[in-house]
C-alpha cells in the first residue's frame, strides 16, 4: 500500500491552464487529486481493480487530449467524472460484445495482474455493495473517502450544496448498511 503523496495546492483551474500551456506536471497534479475517485468510479463498472486502473488511465488520457475543449476550467472535476462515466459505458458495451464473441479459451483474455478488488473478502464485499448503490450516492461515498475536500468537489461534480452533499452521503450510508445487513443476514 502506498502513502498518499501531498497534493499540489491551488485551484484546479490554475492546474488546467498550466497543463494547457504545456506543463505536463500540472496535469500530474490533477491526476494526484482525482485518480483515486476515477478509479473508484471505474471500479463500479468493472468490479475489478486491475480493469479499473486501466480504465482510469484511459479516462485521463481522454481528458488530456480534450482539455482544450473544457469551457470552464473551474469545472474540471465534474467534466472528468463525466468522461469517466462515458468511458465506463463504452467499457460495458465492449465487455458485453466480448462475452458474445470471444471463445472460452481465448489466449488474449489472460489477465496479467490477477489481482482483484481490495484483496480481502470483507473489503471486496463492501465495494461490491457500494457498486449497487444509486449513482449519486456512490459518488458521494467515493468523494468522501477519497478526496481531501469532498464537499467542495461535490459542488462541482454533483451540483450539490455542502448540506445537500452530506444528506446524500447520509442516505448512501444508510442504504449501504441495509444492503450489507441483508447480504450478511444480520443487522449491522
Amino acid at each position: 500500500m502506498e502513502d498518499r503523496p501531498p497534493q499540489a495546492a491551488g485551484p484546479d483551474a490554475d492546474r488546467v491552464r498550466a497543463a494547457l500551456a504545456g506543463d505536463p506536471a500540472a496535469f500530474g497534479d490533477l491526476y494526484d487529486r482525482y485518480a483515486r475517485v476515477i478509479r473508484a468510479v471505474c471500479h463500479d463498472a468493472t468490479g475489478n481493480l486491475a480493469e479499473a486502473q486501466d480504465l482510469s488511465q484511459e479516462v485521463f488520457l481522454r481528458a488530456y487530449r480534450n482539455l482544450a475543449t473544457l469551457r470552464d476550467a473551474e469545472r474540471f472535476a465534474g467534466w472528468l467524472v463525466g468522461i469517466a462515466r462515458m468511458t465506463c459505458r463504452e467499457w460495458r458495451k465492449q465487455a458485453a460484445r466480448d462475452r458474445r464473441h470471444r471463445r472460452p479459451l481465448d489466449p488474449d483474455r489472460v489477465d496479467p495482474g490477477g489481482q482483484d478488488a481490495a484483496g480481502d473478502d470483507a473489503a471486496e464485499q463492501l465495494l461490491q455493495a457500494i457498486a449497487r448503490l444509486p449513482q449519486r450516492e456512490r459518488l458521494a461515498l467515493h468523494l468522501f473517502y477519497l478526496q481531501e475536500r469532498p464537499a467542495e468537489v461535490a459542488q462541482e461534480t454533483m451540483r450539490l450544496s455542502r448540506s445537500g452533499f452530506y444528506r446524500v452521503l447520509d442516505r448512501a450510508r444508510r442504504r449501504l448498511r441495509r444492503a450489507i445487513g441483508l447480504t450478511q443476514g444480520r443487522a449491522v
Binding site: 494526484d32 481493480l49 486502473q53 488530456y64 487530449r65 460484445r97 481490495a118 484483496g119 473517502y145 449491522v188
Partner: protein
C-alpha cells in the same frame, strides 16, 4: 461490519491508492508523446438546418445507428497475425536503437511501397562496427558508409526498387520485428505508448533473452518493440528499442539522395536483373534459389527459381521441362505441412552462366489459399530447406509486375504469360483435381 463508524469503508477504499505512483508515471510518460493538451480539436459551426438537410441528416444518423448496431462491432486485436497485418501496410517507419558490442547505434527505417526506402546500416565484424545508410526512390539510390567515407549512387531500376520495397514491408520488417510467427507470445499487461493504450506481449527465447511487443489493440499493429538478451553477468541487457508506426508519410529529416560532402563517390546504375534475387539454400554445392515469388490473389503462386550444382560447373541441370501446365516433381508445402502445392511448369529461360531461370505455378492441392510455403530437398549426403513468402500486390499492379518480371528472363521476342492466362492454368488444375 459497522459502516456508521466507517473504519471498514476506509480500509476498503485504500485499494484505490494501490500502484498510484507507477500508474501516474506511466500516464505522464505516455503523455509526453501525445498531442498537446493545448491543441484544440476542430469544432463544427452551428448548422442551420433546412428541411432537406434535416432529412438527410436523419437518414445518415439512422444508417450510422444501424451500422453501429448490426454491422460493425468494435474489433480488438491480439498478437495473432500481427506480422501479416504489418506486412499489409503501405508504409512502415521504425525508429530506435540497437546495441552492438555494448554501444547503442541508431536504427531507423522508413519504407513506402514503390516510393521510398531508407534504412541505417550497422555491420559488425568482431570489434569493428561500421555504420551507414541507404536511401532510394524509384529513380535514384544512394548507399553511404561512414567508416570508409564512401558512397555509391546511380539510377534505380523501377521494378527492382518496387520489389525491394515489397520485400522489406512484407518479409524483412515483420520478421525482424515480430519473428517468423506469433507462437509463444504471452500477454503480460497493458501500458500507454505515445498517448495510446497498448497491450504488452512477451516471448521468451529458447536460448535466453526475450522480445517484448507493445501492440495497439485497435489496429493490431506493433507500436513498440524491445529485445533483451542474456548478459555476461547472468542477467539480461536490452539489445534493441524500437518505435514502430505504420501508414505514415516519410519523416521530414530523411537524408537526400546526394552523397555527403567529402565522401568518395562511385557511380553504378542498378541492373534490371537485380530485381530477381531472394532467398536460397545450398547443400554440398547444390544450390536452390528463389528469384521471385508472387501471390496471384491467393489462387496460386508464380515462382521463379534456379537450381544447379555449384560444386560441379559441368554437371547438367536437371531437366524439368515439358508442356506448359505439366506437373513438376517439386514438393512445396505450407510451413505447418498441412497444405501441399502442385508445381506446374511454365517456361525455362536462359539465365546466368548457362543456367536456366525456371518459372512455375504453385497451386494449392486442396483448393485453399496460396501463401507461405517451403520445400525440403533431401540428398544421400545432406539436404536443405528453402522457404518462400510470395509478395502481394493490388490486382492492377500485380498484372503489370507479372509481365515485367517474366520479361527479365524471357529471350527477346517471346511473350510473357499474363495474369489471366496464369489464373486459367491454376483454375484448370483445380478443376482437374475435383
Amino acid at each position: 461490519m459497522n459502516v456508521e463508524h466507517d473504519p471498514d469503508l476506509r480500509r476498503a477504499y485504500r485499494c484505490f491508492d494501490r500502484d498510484h505512483a507507477r500508474l501516474r508515471g506511466q500516464l505522464l510518460e505516455g503523455l509526453r508523446d501525445a498531442p498537446s493538451a493545448g491543441m484544440p480539436r476542430p469544432r463544427f459551426g452551428i448548422l442551420r438546418l433546412r428541411w432537406w438537410t434535416a432529412a438527410a441528416a436523419a437518414a445518415l444518423l439512422l444508417a450510422a445507428t444501424w451500422a453501429l448496431l448490426f454491422r460493425s462491432p468494435l474489433v480488438v486485436y491480439g498478437i495473432a497475425n500481427a506480422g501479416e497485418r504489418l506486412s499489409a501496410c503501405r508504409s512502415v517507419r521504425v525508429e530506435g536503437w540497437r546495441d552492438v558490442g555494448g554501444v547503442r547505434y541508431p536504427w531507423n527505417v522508413y519504407v513506402e511501397a514503390g516510393r521510398r526506402l531508407y534504412g541505417t546500416t550497422i555491420s559488425a565484424h568482431n570489434d569493428d562496427v561500421s555504420t551507414g545508410y541507404s536511401v532510394s526512390d524509384s529513380s535514384r539510390y544512394l548507399t553511404v558508409s561512414h567508416r570508409d567515407k564512401t558512397a555509391v549512387t546511380g539510377n534505380e531500376d523501377a521494378l527492382a526498387f518496387e520489389l525491394q520495397t515489397r520485400r522489406a514491408l512484407q518479409i524483412a520488417l515483420p520478421a525482424q520485428l515480430l519473428g517468423a510467427d506469433d507462437r509463444g507470445f504471452v500477454k503480460t499487461g497493458k501500458s500507454v505508448h505515445r498517448g495510446v493504450r497498448v497491450d504488452v506481449y512477451e516471448r521468451k527465447q529458447p536460448r535466453g533473452g526475450r522480445e517484448v511487443v507493445w501492440l495497439d489493440p485497435s489496429s493490431g499493429l506493433p507500436a513498440h518493440v524491445a529485445f533483451y538478451e542474456p548478459a555476461p553477468d547472468g542477467g539480461e541487457r536490452q539489445a534493441a528499442d524500437l518505435d514502430v508506426t505504420a501508414n505514415v508519410p516519410p519523416p521530414q529529416d530523411l537524408p537526400t539522395l546526394d552523397p555527403p560532402a567529402g565522401y568518395a563517390v562511385t557511380r553504378h546504375d542498378r541492373e534490371p536483373r537485380e530485381a530477381l534475387g531472394g532467398s536460397g539454400a545450398q547443400s554440398n554445392g547444390e544450390q536452390f534459389q528463389i528469384l521471385l515469388a508472387l501471390n496471384l490473389d491467393g489462387r496460386a503462386t508464380l515462382l521463379c527459381w534456379v537450381q544447379y550444382d555449384a560444386g560441379d560447373p559441368d554437371a547438367p541441370e536437371k531437366s524439368l521441362g515439358g508442356p506448359v501446365g505439366s506437373a513438376q516433381p517439386l514438393d512445396f508445402r505450407s510451413p505447418d505441412g498441412k497444405r501441399k502445392y502442385i508445381s506446374l511448369h511454365l517456361h525455362d529461360d536462359p539465365w546466368d552462366e548457362g543456367r536456366h531461370a525456371r518459372w512455375s505455378l504453385l497451386v494449392p492441392e486442396d483448393g485453399g489459399q496460396a501463401g507461405r510455403a517451403e520445400i525440403t530437398i533431401t540428398r544421400p549426403n545432406g539436404g536443405m530447406r528453402v522457404g518462400l513468402s510470395p509478395l502481394r500486390f493490388d490486382r492492377a499492379e500485380l498484372a503489370r509486375v507479372v509481365i515485367e518480371a517474366q520479361k527479365l528472363t524471357l529471350p527477346d521476342g517471346q511473350q510473357a504469360m499474363d495474369l489471366e492466362h496464369l489464373e486459367r492454368i491454376a483454375q484448370a488444375q483445380a478443376h482437374s483435381r475435383k
